[in-house]
Symmetry: C2
């Protein structure tokens, strides 16, 4: 197995998946604990997209743990193709959700004075949640690129 | 040269680039002709991102026309790598801009009654602009995947 950072079935790959899972979970926790997140559909979409990312990254982290324990090679072409497709779908949804929420927050904070006029809205928590979502998306992009190059080198 | 749809230097590749360019230009035209687009930073970001996509797709369309006229093969590894990187950067910006604008429009139309309360806002034009932006992004994804597989088959 090539020693690329983030290769599935290696410690770095497992670390990336755990970080993705934690970032997405932190994004959900920040958004769910804020008051008034149900005012915007984008915030609910962010929770759904991050929920999907938690499930996906947790599943792949379990696969990595299994591969590390039984010293199994995960470089099968079919498995890597499935991982790349899943990574891309999850990454597109995560970027769309984070961007749409960011658009709404910029409107609340910069373009209007809604955050000042309505102090019940947890604008800081919205921003923290979106920052974690973008970080989770960035980590997912690293994983998907590693798997893509592995797949290209196999074919 | 493999007869894949959207291959650079082929008629299908040129057609895809022209369609991308036209969709992005239509998105800019719809947004710029609307009243009140400057109320949201996301809408200005959409215009910038679509402007970048118009320039990028127009440049590559010119390259395709040149390759078709002089019957030149564009399957150089360095050129294809540059095209893939440029496509990805443009696609990520286009998706982020379209999603953030969509988040704001959903807030205007569904989550609040701003579109009904302020009839001066051209909410229909915002929606048309965003639809064109998503279409331009989708066409860019098709191009970038074709170039990526070409690159993988070359290496």
């Amino acid at each position: 197995m090539k020693p690329w950072f983030g290769t599935p079935g290696m410690t770095s790959g497992l670390l990336l998946r755990i970080l993705q899972c934690l970032s997405a979970a932190a994004s959900i926790a920040a958004m769910a604990s804020s008051t008034g997140f149900a005012t915007a559909t984008s915030f609910c979409f962010l929770i759904s997209a991050m929920g999907l990312q938690v499930l996906w990254s947790f599943g792949l982290a379990c696969l990595d743990i299994h591969a590390l324990r039984v010293k199994k090679d995960l470089q099968s072409q079919i498995l890597l193709s499935l991982v790349v497709i899943g990574d891309w779908v999850t990454a597109i949804l995560a970027l769309a959700a984070a961007s749409s929420s960011a658009g709404v927050v910029v409107l609340f904070v910069r373009d209007s004075d809604i955050c000042k006029l309505e102090p019940t809205l947890s604008c800081h928590l919205f921003q923290i949640s979106i920052a974690f979502a973008f970080f989770a998306w960035f980590l997912l992009v690293i994983s998907s690129h590693t798997v893509l190059w592995l797949l290209a080198s196999l074919s």
